[in-house]
């Protein structure tokens, strides 16, 4: 292939031939008439293929420095006397993008084009010819002419879609473009007047910014081209076209026309002075944020894509205005975000045409065709800037550049806009994954292939861009490769994929463990060994379990990368990968859709804060090493706080916790332990990195950590209080996780040696007992088919092994000696008293006592009390669920009896950062400055005593007689139904009366209110799109006037 290309490049085909061949064929097609549709269609494809080849040839040649950029002089005269075209690397890239979408678009629209005869094909071909010219041309008026050609061609193609909607949309489009063209023309003629030239290079050279008249002319030109790019809110006309046109055309409009117009804007920006550039960036940002805000409540798929399209182009406009074009990374950023938009938007519009579903809720039909669903999700993630797509790198680099310039307000605006986009796109993704699937129309190969190619293109370009980003080559793609393999073999039965996944996780662990320091080692064990343990129950599941393993490995791969990360980029990459994977895992639960969405929103919000923080970290520093966290130059406290809050969205700290109960509670039985026992620790890992980097004991962030301490304490309280009023077993555990993570946050925030020992002990314990509890309860929930504890009961007789596991789990959780939970409590007291955080400590302690309430409720309602009639035939959980539980119990036992095995190395590891008041060891006895604790002895004493007493009681009651279920004293009655004697529902009613006000859903209400506010704002503003084409024209003119007035007041 390379050989062929290089032969081709020996003999470059002049780009003028794009025009000549296209027009020649177009005119010839007119000759053919409507009869020979097939022939003319073949000619159309041939012409588009030719264009594609020419542009790709130039791209190849220019990118490899085989040829020089070429100026093409028409009519044989040098500019400015004649029109000239330029084929440079930029042009080659843009033209290639345009021509590829042209070719594939023509294939996609094949049937429509054939049906409408050669006329429509002529229009199609001319459209792409004109797009090529406006990219290549260096003459202002020439660009105008071909922009008009393009506009008219689009207006012609709009009506390929039948129905009055398309016609009225087309008319609105014509109204708008007509006015824009007029404005453009006024600008052109005056710039000719004031600079004496129509040649772009000459105009730029004459620096129109210095003459007022010329400045106003260039203002008009720029505003016209910006209006072509549909700035918010003067873009109602464009939205209608996106919605009503043939999806193939919408794809072209969004990707090809949008790209071409953006490039025109790029060419024109040379005329604008710095002040104008400022406004361009402002316009872009307003468009990005505004359009995405308005998109939030949109339910119609193509219109929604229209909003997103407008928004993305707004972002690109903003980038154009924000970064100096001489900036070495400008092109990379622009290219990354542009190509994501290009591939994704075209792909999505194409898919919309394949499945013919207007409402986004109907997109669940995609599930009938997993390949399409995969592509759909890839496109959506690409739009949102997730790795490994090009926009991820673009967005990353953009934030880094803007940070270096200190433009944090701009970053925030962009992140807010992105966040709005996440809201509606991820909601849509959720619908497609979860809702009832309708019937999928028959798919023609010609519509299928372009989508697939664009999907592949997205990944390929993503990789390409990553290699050009600074430090992008440090990214380890191994985990993604594993995911890809699992995607390919998704048709295999689950147990095969499960084995593969376990092997892969083990392999990651094998690769990672050597040479890690203690803390990372602990997290490697939690993430990866935990991963293996929680994957084991998957053997229980029959069938294929489509999509599960790629998601799981995406998450575990992300976690592995997180540990491996040595620079900010790697870390953020891993963080995002993990987020996507976990999202797809969480959403698998039956009722998980809304919860997965709120998980995603909080995660993305957190990720953006982290990104912003990273931006601040990198600003003023060179390189991206994680070590920079300890030398933040710009707003260090703010940066630290942002990152901390970002990580706290994952640990579900107070205020950011409302996603967790639903997400963990509704997830599948073996997913809950993954996300609860393992995934939450990713946030902890992040916090640990931050806190270690902050300087340990001698940090300058004591205020921040004080606040974090309180947040941790209150989180513990609220989480545990929430848990006691749950009737749903898994939600109870989920709330418990919130509480436990509150303890952990609190402990780390203490920032002393003892505090950190506490934190890490809690972390390890929580990993073990929460995995046990969720595995056991999850297995039971799966067996019984209900989450409600009051519908269970008496299962101890059916599932003794699970009962023992849960019992050990809750003893550990409660911190009752002799199990390892007590170690955490003991360390905690020492840490709190030494630090002097008495009140916070008391709050956490109170939370701990509350834990008893829910723990009792859990074990009592599920295992004790009366067995229900419909559970009389339930069997013990399968070995696949019990095995990991018992492995973890062994872990707990070891940690309980010999905590020094783990705590000593941890102590040594953190002694660097926290040298004072260390824990000292005398054999198995731990000594702090306050007290002492000998876990081994305690184990022996209690164990010995327990055995003696048990033996005694057994001896005493050896003749005890086993009785029937209902044999008991019950107010002189004998109950017959288990429900009547199993008090489980709302057993803490009294407590609720007394302290229930503490769990009033204030925070949920706050977030609901915020969401409603955003949505209703969006809905309100959306009304300006009244559907009246004339109003859109008024918007357009007002937009010009308003921007002009703002601009005038500034100069």
């Amino acid at each position: 292939m390379v050989n062929i290309l290089s032969i081709l490049t020996m003999n470059m085909i002049s780009p003028i031939n794009i025009i000549a061949v296209s027009l020649g064929i177009a005119f010839f097609m007119g000759l053919l008439g409507n009869k020979a549709q097939r022939t003319s269609y073949i000619l159309l494809i041939a012409a588009l293929l030719f264009n594609t080849i020419v542009s790709l040839q130039w791209l190849y040649g220019l990118a490899n420095n085989l040829v020089e950029a070429q100026q093409i002089f028409t009519a044989g005269y040098k500019p400015p006397f004649s029109i000239n075209l330029l084929m440079g690397l930029n042009e080659a890239v843009i033209a290639s993008l345009i021509n590829i979408v042209g070719l594939l678009g023509a294939i996609y629209m094949g049937s429509t084009l054939k049906k409408n005869g050669s006329g429509s094909q002529v229009v199609f071909l001319v459209l792409f010819m004109s797009l090529n010219v406006i990219v290549l041309s260096r003459d202002l008026f020439n660009i105008f002419v071909f922009l008009e050609v393009g506009s008219i061609a689009v207006a012609g193609l709009v009506i390929l879609q039948k129905g009055v909607k398309a016609v009225s949309a087309g008319f609105k489009y014509m109204l708008a473009t007509g006015i824009i063209a007029g404005i453009f023309l006024i600008g052109i003629i005056f710039i000719y007047r004031f600079t004496g030239s129509l040649n772009l290079d000459q105009i730029i050279q004459s620096n129109p910014a210095i003459k007022q008249g010329a400045l106003i002319s260039s203002f008009l030109i720029l505003i016209a081209i910006i209006l072509e790019l549909k700035p918010f809110p003067a873009n109602g006309w464009a939205l209608d076209v996106y919605q009503a046109a043939h999806p193939g055309l919408s794809a072209i409009l969004s990707s090809a026309v949008g790209t071409a117009n953006l490039y025109v804007l790029y060419k024109f920006t040379g005329m604008a002075g710095d002040s104008l550039m400022h406004y361009i960036s402002l316009i872009g940002i307003v468009t990005f944020v505004g359009s995405n805000l308005l998109g939030i409540n949109q339910k119609k798929a193509r219109r929604l894509l229209g909003y997103s399209s407008v928004g993305q182009i707004g972002l690109l406009i903003a980038i154009m205005g924000l970064l100096p074009h001489s900036n070495s990374n400008f092109k990379l950023i622009f290219f990354g975000i542009l190509t994501s938009h290009y591939f994704a938007k075209a792909g999505l519009f194409w898919i919309s045409g394949i499945i013919k579903a207007e409402n986004i809720k109907e997109w669940s039909v995609l599930r009938k065709k997993p390949v399409l669903l995969f592509l759909f999700l890839s496109f959506i993630l690409a739009l949102l800037g997730f790795p490994p797509f090009p926009s991820f790198w673009g967005k990353w680099q953009l934030v880094m550049e803007l940070s270096a310039q200190g433009q944090f307000a701009v970053i925030i605006a962009i992140l807010v806009g992105s966040f709005f986009e996440v809201v509606y796109l991820m909601r849509w993704a959720g619908y497609s994954i979860k809702l009832e699937a309708g019937t999928l129309p028959e798919i023609k190969l010609s519509k299928y292939i372009p989508v697939i190619l664009f999907g592949l293109g997205l990944y390929a370009v993503g990789y390409f861009v990553s290699q050009s980003v600074e430090f992008g080559n440090t990214i380890n793609y191994l985990p993604l490769l594993v995911v890809a393999v699992l995607l390919v073999v998704d048709f295999l039965p689950a147990f095969v994929k499960n084995s593969l996944s376990i092997l892969a996780t083990g392999w990651f662990a094998y690769l990672l463990i050597p040479g890690q320091d203690t803390i990372k080692f602990i997290f490697t064990i939690i993430f990866l060994v935990g991963g293996i343990l929680t994957l084991i129950p998957g053997f229980q599941i029959k069938g294929k379990r489509e999509g599960f393993y790629p998601s799981a490995m995406l998450m575990f791969g992300g976690l592995a990368l997180l540990i491996e990360a040595s620079n900010l980029l790697q870390f953020f990459f891993a963080w995002e990968i993990m987020t996507i994977g976990s999202y797809f895992l969480i959403i698998r639960g039956k009722k998980s859709m809304p919860h997965a969405l709120s998980y995603m929103l909080f995660s993305v919000g957190g990720a953006y804060l982290i990104l912003l923080g990273f931006g601040m970290v990198s600003a003023g520093n060179s390189g991206l090493s994680l070590d920079l966290l300890s030398s933040i130059k710009v707003y260090p406290v703010l940066a630290m706080s942002l990152m901390a809050v970002g990580f706290m969205t994952k640990t579900a700290s107070l205020g950011l916790h409302i996603w967790l109960p639903g997400a963990h509670g509704e997830a599948e039985s073996d997913v809950s332990p993954m996300v609860s026992a393992i995934l939450l620790k990713a946030g902890v890992f992040g916090l640990i990195l931050l806190m270690l980097a902050s300087g340990g004991e001698q940090n300058s962030y004591s205020g921040l950590f004080y606040v974090l301490g309180w947040i941790g304490a209150l989180t513990a309280l609220v989480g545990n209080l929430g848990a006691i009023f749950q009737e749903d077993a898994k939600r109870l555990l989920a709330y418990s996780s919130i509480g436990q993570l509150g303890y952990i946050l609190f402990a780390f925030a203490i920032m002393t040696h003892m505090g950190w020992l506490t934190g890490l002990t809690y972390t390890i314990n929580h990993f073990m007992f929460k995995a046990i509890l969720f595995l056991a309860i999850g297995g039971i929930v799966m067996k019984l088919g209900t989450h409600n504890m009051y519908e269970m009961g008496g299962l101890i007789k059916k599932m003794p092994f699970s009962f023992i596991a849960v019992l050990i789990g809750i003893i550990t959780l409660a911190g009752i000696p002799p199990l390892s939970g007590f170690g955490g409590k003991w360390l905690f007291y020492n840490a709190v008293i030494m630090k002097g955080w008495y009140f916070q400590g008391a709050v956490v302690f109170f939370a701990g006592t509350i834990a008893f309430l829910y723990l009792f409720k859990l074990i009592y309602s599920v295992f004790l009390g009366q067995l229900k009639d419909n559970h009389r035939n339930v069997k013990e959980l399968s070995i696949w669920f019990l095995l990991p539980q018992y492995i973890l119990i062994i872990g707990i036992m070891v940690f309980s009896a010999k905590p020094d095995l783990i705590l000593k190395p941890i102590g040594n590891a953190i002694a660097m950062a926290f040298p004072s008041n260390q824990l000292t060891w005398e054999g198995t006895k731990a000594l702090s400055t306050l007290g002492y604790w000998d876990a081994t002895t305690i184990m022996v004493v209690i164990g010995g005593m327990f055995v003696v007493l048990l033996g005694w009681l057994m001896f005493m009651s050896r003749k005890a007689q086993k009785v029937e279920q209902f044999n008991m004293v019950y107010a002189a009655e004998r109950p017959e139904r288990p429900e009547l004697t199993h008090v489980s529902h709302n057993i803490y009613a009294g407590y609720n009366k007394a302290l229930g006000f503490l769990v009033a859903p204030g925070i949920t209400n706050f977030w609901n209110y915020t969401t409603n506010l955003v949505e209703s704002t969006g809905n309100f503003i959306r009304r300006i799109y009244s559907g009246n084409g004339q109003s859109y024209a008024i918007h357009l003119v007002s937009y010009i006037v308003i921007v002009f007035i703002i601009y005038l007041t500034a100069i």
């Binding site: 008026f141 002419v145 008009e148 008219i152 207006a155 012609g156 009506i159 009055v164 909607k165 016609v167 009225s168 949309a169 087309g170 008319f171 609105k172 014509m174 109204l175 007509g178 006015i179 063209a181 007029g182 023309l185 006024i186 052109i188 003629i189 005056f190 000719y192 007047r193 129509l198 939205l239 209608d240 919605q243 009503a244 949109q298 219109r303 809905n1019 959306r1022 009304r1023 799109y1025 009244s1026 559907g1027 009246n1028 084409g1029 004339q1030 024209a1033 008024i1034 003119v1037």
Partner: protein, 118 residues
């Protein structure tokens, strides 16, 4: 001279725009466009005007040697031709649209075509 032309041109443009923005009838809107276009064309020609210049066609009076001093700027004249043709094309297409819209709803009132909104 060019002042008057310029004022006329701008006035025409504004009148045309007013027609476009205020008339409900689609045909009248298209007429507004024609006015708007005409204003633009006048503007372009005016910009090319040189005080006391003549048409840029060389003949016995205006030869190659003195052309540069005598003629008006030929470029805007060339541009205006293009602009006219484009305007014509747009108008034709708009009329076709108007026809189609009328066929669909038996109405030429632009406010009747609000199926797509928000």
């Amino acid at each position: 001279m060019e002042t008057i032309a310029l004022i006329t041109a701008f006035a025409l443009i504004l009148i045309g725009l007013f027609g476009i923005l205020s008339n409900k009838n689609i045909l009248k809107i298209i007429i507004g466009f024609s006015l708007f276009d005409t204003g633009l064309h006048v503007l372009i020609v005016t910009v090319g005007y040189i005080k006391g210049g003549t048409a840029p066609i060389l003949d016995k009076v205006v030869g190659t040697s003195n052309a540069a001093d005598k003629i008006v700027d030929p470029i805007p004249q060339a541009l205006v031709l293009t602009a006219i043709v484009i305007g014509l094309g747009v108008t034709a297409l708009m009329l076709a649209y108007a026809l189609k819209l009328y066929q669909a709803k038996k109405s030429l009132n632009i406010t009747d075509f609000k199926e797509l909104k928000w």
